[in-house]
Amino acid sequence: MMVLGPGLLGLGSLFAWAMAGLPAFGDYHGPYGFVLNRVVVPLRHTTNVVMGTTFDVRGVDTMGEEFILYAAVVGVTLLLRDETRSKQAERRTRRLPNDTARLVGIAMVGGGLLVGLWLMAFGYITPGGGFQGGVLAAGAILLLYVVGSHRDYRPFRDVHALDPLESLGSGGYVIVGLAALASGTAFLTNLFGLGTTGTLLSGGSIAILNWASAIAVTCAMVLLFAEFLETYVVPLEPEDSGS
């Protein structure tokens, strides 16, 4: 379309005009972030201020974020329900990789899961957190599908187990918030013991919310990946696998 060029030019000029009014790079003068850098560690005992912000100061944003992911997974399931149904018509066989590839793959699965879990566990102390760990763990679980026969992967993919787990993760976030409300404080108030700064037992609710979101993200990503993979790779039928 002819007007795209001028439009982009106009938008670009607006950007340029706005950015000329920004403080020079590196001259950020706060105050919001600086205040948090000062108060989060003493008040919440989490050394990672970003996670302290994500799961405590602005915890309700993250609750919304969990549900965005949740709604996306539900939405993708809804949109691809015909694809999954019509897969019966076009089953194709898939070659299994040889043993070496399988071994390497399984090692990678193990590695991915371990790193994922580590990211989840230490998220509020060092960089990482429920989301990063969850995506990685989900990727590792999906690798099982690629390197192993589909049966290794089946239990992970089973919606009967995954849906409730995902709901538990997202719903758990809300329940932690409601528990605070029920105890007479504000929604998502940090209720539990704050523990020693810099250890796994620090942060109070932050740790719980971090795990809730880790579960929710892992399940959501496995479901999302599976929904897409299933639409093109169809597992071997039992009678085919003998050949």
């Binding site: 009014g21 205040v35 539900v74 939405g75 409300l181």
Partner: protein, 596 residues
């Protein structure tokens, strides 16, 4: 009572998680009860909240992060009567839609229910939030749920196209919004709306603030389907299932406007509140939207597409009400929101009933098929009359207050254009109703372009539920203008909403807002002008509908502009994105000239 606001979000979201999670465990009736119960409970709590918000702004600081020394660290929900009223309407419309869908969309019920509840929670959160980034989170949540719901009928291409266009344009709107957030944050170092407003009080506004405002408001205007960002709306609403349309068209589109009003009166009224530059652009966008979308509605034969343009037309009128920047205008917008949400929902419900009964959604194909369907016919005509704003019916009071606002500012030509818009849209709906339920007119019309049909979703429905829900919605919507005391309360709520410094003091320093005196409980009357305009619009709409039914051929002079209008709404997403870019650039350019 500050514990209520988070519940309006927590209850629907928790129920959304539970309904999908417990699907294989609990039987269907329990599921249905859970879903409807959660939605109804949210609505009931919203009523309680409205009751309390009348006296003072109900503020909830998440995580107990109250502001210290006037610096906000956490995220807050701040609820005045206007926001609480929005939550009530949202709750009612979603609950009615869920009831309507009880026997309607059983094929993927749990997914549908989960998405509807997520959208409910997100819309309530959006209406109440007092934090810039938090607004974005709820905006995206309701959007993600809505994209998927739009594409519900995956066995046809139309819904997929509608969902694609909806998703891409609105996602782009979200990105514009985030860039706006980054700019504002760099300048003020705050995300809380009151805090940002306070920070902007010092020093000249400059280009950064003007551009940031452009990006933030355009993000909402895309969501609100304002011309030239409206192109996705018709594609999306024409194809979504009727109960989804009722939620999208009834409340979710309109809520973008509440975002515009919220941002203006908490943040941008501080640097730009002296002049009328911001408001005038919104006013003109609203006027163009009202007239253009009204015309487009008249050129449609697909009922839901016609309704989509009717929604966009009324969005224009409401935006104009906000653009007047005075209490009457905002109060009018608020009352129109109430009536419009319920009436639009009821009309979408009736369109869904026709679709179920006859497997058709095309005005010309349906000609005469609705004869004898009394209840849907009554709902359709009552809803239409209510949407035109015939004196003391439906949107009339809201429209009248917008008229008052305009004439107080000495802009007496504004009401004429706005009434023209609602008359055009109303004429289209009247014409369709007369053709379908009375069998009037021809079953051919060159003006209306080619037919678009779609398959009905399901036939095993309990029709009485559908009809009952449609009737409830229409009765509530029609009565809005004559509820005693509602007009006065809307004006009071609008006055509170516009109190920028009072809001900031309440949020940042926990200072109480002035308590209202006792408000009268009588029917609000409007000026004689509005009475005349409304009568004129009704007569004009009837005449135009009649002409639409019985005119022999289209006047030749009209053919080229009609063709241009049709071709602009091309259905191709690349064009829509171009319009988003151009619209944003032009809006920003105009503001740059007016406000610098």
């Amino acid at each position: 009572m500050s514990w209520i606001p988070p519940l309006l979000v927590a209850i629907p979201l928790l129920a959304a998680a539970a309904t999908a999670g417990l699907d294989h465990v609990t039987p269907q009736p329990v599921q249905d009860a859970l879903v409807i119960g959660a939605s109804a409970a949210t609505t009931a709590l919203a009523f309680v909240l409205l009751w309390h918000a009348e006296d003072h702004e109900v503020v909830h600081w998440f995580g107990g992060w109250q502001p210290k020394h006037g610096v906000a660290l956490g995220v807050d929900f701040a609820v005045g009567p206007l926001a609480a009223g929005m939550c009530v309407v949202i709750g009612i419309v979603v609950t009615l839609s869920l009831l309507y869908a009880l026997t309607f969309l059983r094929e993927a019920a749990r997914l549908f229910d989960a998405l509807m509840l997520a959208a409910l929670g997100a819309m309530c959160g959006f209406a109440m939030s007092g934090d810039l980034f938090n607004l974005f989170v709820w905006l995206e949540l309701m959007a993600v749920a809505a994209y998927a719901l739009t594409g519900f009928q995956v066995e046809r291409l139309g819904p997929v196209q509608g969902a694609v266009n909806f998703a891409i344009t609105n996602t782009l709107g979200g990105y514009l919004f985030v860039v706006g957030i980054a700019l504002i944050y760099a300048r003020t170092g705050a995300l809380n709306l009151a805090q940002i407003g306070k920070a902007l009080a010092h020093g000249p506004a400059g280009g950064l603030v003007i551009v940031a405002m452009t990006l933030l408001l355009c993000g909402f205007l895309i969501k609100g389907a304002v011309v030239p960002f409206h192109l996705w709306a018709a594609d999306a609403y024409a194809v979504a299932p009727a109960p989804v349309c009722a939620v999208l068209g009834g409340v979710m589109t309109d809520i973008g406007l509440i975002g515009v009003a919220r941002l203006y009166w908490t943040v941008f009224a501080v640097p730009f509140g002296q002049g009328h530059g911001v408001g005038d652009v919104l006013l003109w966008l609203g006027l163009v939207t009202a007239v253009l979308a009204g015309t487009m509605a008249f050129l449609q034969r697909h009922l839901k597409r016609m309704l989509a343009y009717s929604v966009v037309c009324h969005i224009g009128i409401m935006l104009a009400g906000i653009g007047l920047l005075d209490t009457s205008g905002l109060a009018g917008t608020e009352l129109m929101f109430l009536a419009h949400a319920l009436l639009t929902a009821s009309l979408f419900f009736v369109a869904g009933i026709l679709h179920v009964d006859h497997g058709l959604i095309d005005e010309l194909h349906l000609r005469g098929r609705g004869r004898g369907c009394w209840a849907p016919a009554v709902a359709w005509f009552a809803g239409t009359i209510g949407l035109i704003g015939t004196p003391y019916v439906g949107i009339y009071l809201g429209h009248g207050l917008i008229d008052d606002g305009a004439s107080e500012l000495g802009r007496s030509w504004v009401p004429a254009l706005l009434w023209l818009g609602s008359a055009l849209a109303g004429a289209a709906l009247l014409r369709a109703g007369a053709r379908i339920f009375l069998g009037w007119g021809d079953d051919e019309d060159e003006l209306l372009g080619r037919a678009i049909e779609e398959d009905p979703l399901e036939r095993a429905v309990r029709r009485p539920i559908l009809v009952g829900v449609a009737l409830v919605a229409v009765v509530l919507g029609v009565a809005i203008s004559v509820v005693p005391g509602l007009g006065q309360r809307a004006e009071y709520a609008a006055g509170r909403f516009r109190d920028t410094s009072g809001y900031a003091a309440r949020i940042l320093h926990d200072r109480a807002m002035p308590a209202p005196g006792s408000l009268p409980v009588t029917i609000q009357h409007t000026s004689v002008d509005s009475l005349l305009y409304a009568s004129g619009a009704t007569i004009f709409a009837l005449g135009l509908a009649f002409a639409g039914l019985y005119r022999r051929r289209m006047p030749r002079a009209l053919a080229p502009p009609v063709r241009v209008l049709h071709s602009l709404h091309s259905g191709v997403v690349g064009d829509y994105v171009t319009w988003v870019v151009v619209g944003t650039a032009v809006t920003g350019g105009v503001w740059a000239i007016l406000l610098r």
